[in-house]
Amino acid sequence: MSGRRAMGELESEVLTILWAAEDALTPAEVLEGIGADIAYTTAMTVLSRLWKKGLAERERRGRAYAYRPKVTEAELTARRMQATLSKTNDREAALARFVGRLSTEEEGALRRLLDQMDKRE
């Protein structure tokens, strides 16, 4: 994997953490949530890149900055698109979704599988 691509993927990952959080996060808090092995300095670099790109805003918190995600033009477009998508039943447009809808039996089967996995750990 090229360094540039890896950086892009890390940016996405860090962004998901910022969005999932209720509050602004410091690099240390981001490190906690990332679930992957990265260095503190890397987290700092990624966060400041996100800030420079206008994907996040930051505020001082003690000696560090805390970052929160920012709604961008692309996200506003995506929101409008979502409205269009939910109105259509074009099945191809709904392609490549992470998960589809479940039937009642499938839901039951999934809950059982999740239970099994939780027990195994």
């Binding site: 892009g8 993927e9 940016e11 996405s12 990952e13 962004l15 998901t16 953490i17 969005w19 999932a20 949530g33 990332i34 679930g35 992957a36 790109k53 994907l55 995600p69 709604v71 961008t72 033009e73 692309a74 996200e75 477009t77 995506a78 929101r79 698109m81 979502q82 269009t84 998508l85 259509t88 074009d90 099945r91 191809e92 447009a93 709904a94 392609l95 490549a96 979704r97 992470f98 998960v99 589809g100 809808r101 479940l102 039937s103 009642t104 039996e105 499938e106 839901e107 089967a109 999934l110 809950r111 599988l113 999740l114 996995m117 195994r120 750990e121």
Partner: protein
Amino acid sequence: MILLVVPGVTAVAASLAAALLHRRLRPAVAVPVLTMLSAMSALALLWSFALLVVGFVGHIAWISEHAAWCLALAHAHDAVPPAAGIAAIVMLAASAFAVVRHERRRLRLDAAIEGDDELVVLPSDDPIAYALPGRPGHIVVSVGMLRALDGAERRVLLAHERAHLHHRHHRYLRVAELVAVAVPLLRPIRDRVRFATERWADEVAADAVGDRTLTARAIARAALATNSATGTPVLAMAALGVPARVDALLDESPVGRRRLTTLTCITLIALVTVTGSTVQFHHLLAFAARLCGT
């Protein structure tokens, strides 16, 4: 006359049979094989219908006078009875109509999002996640979905959607969808291509995060979150949905030997399809030769 239809029907039957075996193949193999089989057998079938039309129309007296050369192409065959000829015309017209309508209605979202940042977050509490193909493609995820998963599970989600974009799954889905629209008989193959692209992305994600159980859990969590948020569940194709994907990730039994025999099977079926099509393509060649004046 029956001879005209045999190759097309054989091809369709063979690829439907192949679709039943798709789970014995690695998803990365199943997707292109099934997509290609469905496209080829659709062409073979439609071409069969076209020959019936030629056989029928060509034997109508006033047309055969003006288009003797065309008739010569089909002269090896008997005149096609009107009922079959008209039925073939109706089938072809219905196919063409369905394809045109489908293309007109298709949403073109590719160019909708500008910028080249990979991730686009929807500020919505509904759990949503999908890959949006384009140059570059985007991963669209809602805040609701991000909050339904933990950090490691979110990495699975990103890896899964990235796999869709990186391996250009939308192209296979597009071909399979067009085929299903043109020849509704082949819809089961489209459904299996859809399932296999999801499995493919699941496997890539599992490799990326290095943990099959984690991958299975992320998919199960996301599916349950989506369901509880959207109310009434829609009937999904039994055994083709999320539980089957989760099962496949948790099941690590070796399928190597079965895989080999299946591969032979698939090769055979592919051969049948190709033969089925080539038997008919000599007509096309004759037609091309005529057009070129040889």
